[in-house]
Symmetry: C2
Subunit: 240 residues, 2 copies
Amino acid sequence: MPNSPHDLRDIRTIAFDADDTLWRHQDLFEGTQARFVDLLRGFHDEDWIAGRLHEAEMRNLRLYGYGVKGFMLSMVETAIELTEGRIGGAEIQRILDLGKTMLDHPIDLMPGVAEALAQLAGTFELMVITKGDLFDQETKLARSALGAHFKAVEVVSEKDAAAYAAILKRHGIGPAHFLMVGNSLKSDVLPVLAVGGRAVHVPYELQWSHDRVEGASAASHGYLEIASLSELPGLLADTP
Amino acid sequence: MPNSPHDLRDIRTIAFDADDTLWRHQDLFEGTQARFVDLLRGFHDEDWIAGRLHEAEMRNLRLYGYGVKGFMLSMVETAIELTEGRIGGAEIQRILDLGKTMLDHPIDLMPGVAEALAQLAGTFELMVITKGDLFDQETKLARSALGAHFKAVEVVSEKDAAAYAAILKRHGIGPAHFLMVGNSLKSDVLPVLAVGGRAVHVPYELQWSHDRVEGASAASHGYLEIASLSELPGLLADTP
């Protein structure tokens, strides 16, 4: 079955998503958001605060794009809005400090990542393809000590089929030789299948509501699913 | 004189800086900063406010990188610091609105840019190499209507010799065939000369103090200088 999604014999290049695939990120966002909610608890209930913050993030996405700095600005805006301007300078500074702590946080690698990359780097060309803030992602990669494994790092503003097609073309990679590995069906799996590549989904425990795709499944869409990156070398070696 | 900086016969690829080379940007920063100073004028004098804002920007560069969102966060932080936390929510919102206006501002092309690019695109491979926020730069390029002229757009977090060497290698461009055009000696000219490329300096009226390089001159460092991009096609055609 040369066209089976389980047949990875032709793969030469493996690209990895970064946040919540190589290292934990959503936990940090959720932790920061919990502390933000605590700050405003005297004014509103928890769900209302979280809901309004999410609305601000979505409203500002067009101007800010993805990333921690935009999240910080949306938190400040939400705090002003929910207190009708009564929030004090010290509380706003506390919000800025929460964001700075995120930006400076030690990198917490997902289980098995370092070993899997070291094993795969000998046989495959490895890349990172990630969304978000270029500066954030580059400093995180530097702090992760994983940088040496990757031949290229691509930071894009949106991970859609057009973005993947452009990257494959720029690097001269045929889609049949390309495997993308990531935690997001919407960003890492479905658009890669759409351009003729292979994809492995590594679900993360927490899923950002913006990233969910209804009705997608490994069986119906032709991708593979593993619980941890430590299973990836075996998957590539096992090909019949 | 094949090695003269004035000999551009071998050039095949021309890369352009974006902010203050293709379109005005520093004016927007200065205008926003003037309105920010106005907001705090009741607390401190103008130079003191501008000086403390610049200090905050430099202090936060390691965490925020370059770009409007980091500038917004540094303005908020400076406003809190300079008012010892007495700034109100409405004023902070006003600062956020100043930043959003910058992010959404119509693109104001530098003189002669559209014509020069249209003329050069037939003969040379054109690229953009810019520093700053990936999302900002991509949306500005889209709004500029110049996108179709460029074969590649590279957004890097720092424009140093290593960054240029990596871009040339990735695109398979020999340094002798590469010309960089930009307004910053520090980012667009000197690091390109250091990797063996050619450079054309197009000085901008306003220079951000962080971008100044003491003692560099066209005569001593071997680059060309023009007053406007409209002179560039002539420069490339004039080569003896």
